[in-house]
Amino acid sequence: MRLLILLMAGTLLAADPVILKLCLRSEPKTFHPLKADEEASETIRFLTAGTLLRINRKTQLPEPSLAAKWKTADGGKTVKFELREGLQFSDGTPFTAADVVYTFQQVAAIRSGFTDSLRQGEATPVATVTGKHEVTVRFAELTPGWERLIDGLGMMSAKSPSGEKAVMGAFMVADHKPGQYIALGRNPHYWVRDAQGKALPKLDQIRLDITANRDLEMLRFKRGEVHMINKVEPDIYQALATQMPEAVRNAGVSFESEQLWFNQAGKAPIPAYKLEWFRSPVFRRAVSESIRRTDLAKIAMKGLAVPGVGPVSPGNTVWFNQKLTADAYAPTVALEKLKKAGFHKKSDGLYDAGGHRVEFSIVTNAGNKTRERLAAMIQADLGEIGIRVNVVTLDFPSLLERITRGFNYEACLLGFTNVDQDPNGQMNVWLSSGATHAWSPNQPKPETAWEAEIDKLMKAQARTVVLAKRKEMFDRVQAIVHKQAPFLYLVHKNVLTAVHPSVRNSLVTVLFPHVFSNAEQIELQGLGTYRSAR
């Protein structure tokens, strides 16, 4: 009998590996830490890469990580990092100052969206070894907000035979089946210990299944086969809130927004009279004031969003211009302004001064129910002031082609995701010469006075590290954007996540990643406690 109990205890102690299961929407394009540009790759990087410092997702302040401390000098252009000693990569290779230098050299060699964020002109920061465990990094120009850039810079080993597979994060890539899943195993050489001195991470494995079907993800979540959902769609959130209320977490307003913009590119193959409408700030503001944003938030977003204000969402408390508010619904005022600008409303619609019926199309990506609802509601709202809107949903590559190459579109409804907290991350959107200056990219020189002013302000705020000064300048940018409405901000979405009740210690934050920023501390209930002490 005692033998039986011992045997049973033995099998309990040799418990199955504790695996946290999440879903990725798409196949990660790369596992290389410096090439990770989209969410799936960034997820892998966050969980596997070790960085010199880490921005605490809760407090939003930088904390030491691989660097025990650092000191800035030269007005902020130089940073001296003191590295921790005795650390190793996941394959045992020692971590030294030379590896940090190597990583910065790779930043110069590799071209990606991420390395571009570290690039100033054509130069990248230069790192030199200045002591046994000390590295000095020199930025070419003043880089305000450099901490958040370093937060994403995964350290690579100069000497390891595994190349970029050697990592210093809590987990490492253990298995990968293209199109199916990625299994992240525990990094045996992870240096962080918990409060009791036990090695982290507490999980044995994180399994990232690749599935684009949100309904399937939700069904699996309810059955406990998926433990966390990082970004939940409003429809699914609503359903889960009734069926599993203890599992849903609404972290408040995110940094993201859904916006509508008109094509103002000179080379757009659209009729000249339409280009004239789109280039008129009066027209854009009138359209903005004829949209019922509160309805959009309430119905299209199921109440899980706030009316859109401007380039910075109210959730970004550090940078939001408190003086701005969402455009109120004022169609009569809008019509008056349009009339003054030469438009006139007849019984069958709105006409411009040249006698053309005001009609345009909105393109958006197919398969996104939220955007389809937003477009249908805008169509109805604008119909009330006589504007006829045609909604065209396209597959994503076709849409991209139209808005970045051929410019064969009239209005576009999209949301920008992974919006950086710091405006420097959106430099190419606001600079008129920028490639992602969506309504009219790559301008050789600013086409309007207000775009020229934004150029000036953006460049100026990038040249100082004093937050108050930067905020003042960027507040002006926000005010200009609000007035000129190149983007009509529709809604700012909430951060919607779902965490299964069996998960312990997960932190839900507004900053990405929303549910696993402290992945090394997460445990799964019941199973975690059977792990023997190490």
């Binding site: 699914i236 309805d295 249908a376 065209v392």
Partner: protein, 265 residues
Amino acid sequence: MKRLAAALLIALALAMVAGQFLLPARYDQQFRESTDALPGGDHPLGTDELGRDRAARLLAGARVSLLLAPAASVLAIALAAMLGLSAGWCGGWWDRAVTTLIDLMISVPIFLVLITARAVLPLNVSPISSVMITFLLLGLLGWAGSARVIRGACQTHLNSDYILRALASGSSRTRILFVHLLPNLWPVLRTQFILAVPGFILDEANLSLLGLGVAEPLPSLGSLLKELTHLPSSANWVGLAAPALLLALTVGAFEFLLPPKEGAS
């Protein structure tokens, strides 16, 4: 049964025509205060997530799909019949050419053609034009499978006893074609047609992923049925199931009304 089917179709036709006058709401009116409403009161089938009356949308969608899908099916079956019959009848190089074409059309992913078609179309087409163009494309591209079946049936019949007898007794080839072959192909053609109608209706909805199909605010039966492919966000089973029921009844009615055989061999 036939009378019942006919009565159903007539009632449906009347509803589609007169419905828009009898129902209080238009199909594109958004009653934003009562979204996802259950059936009752002003909305006999409830409302959808944007507050639009489901009954009005059902009738509007039926008008679109039940007029255009049969038309597209007729086009597709006509093309299939011409090519399949001629291939089976003539044989030789023409048969080989048609078969190659059929195989190509079946193997090549047609949605690439449709993506390109969408790129060529102007952005500002009216919703009704957009859906008409979609059904036209479906009809023009959806004949390959049917052509193969018709060709196979043609070959079977051409080798059958009665045709050989007719040939032996000196009947002209034209007479054989019209008097003997075509009537025997009628069941195949009829089945193809009845199967093509709901097939095209459902295909049209899937094409919205590529930018074709019906555009907001116009509904089609297909787009209404698409709601069923996601986890339901409301408990309005009647409103959600109504389009499927309507389509099923209509297809069933076609099945009963069209005679299964046209004369004996």
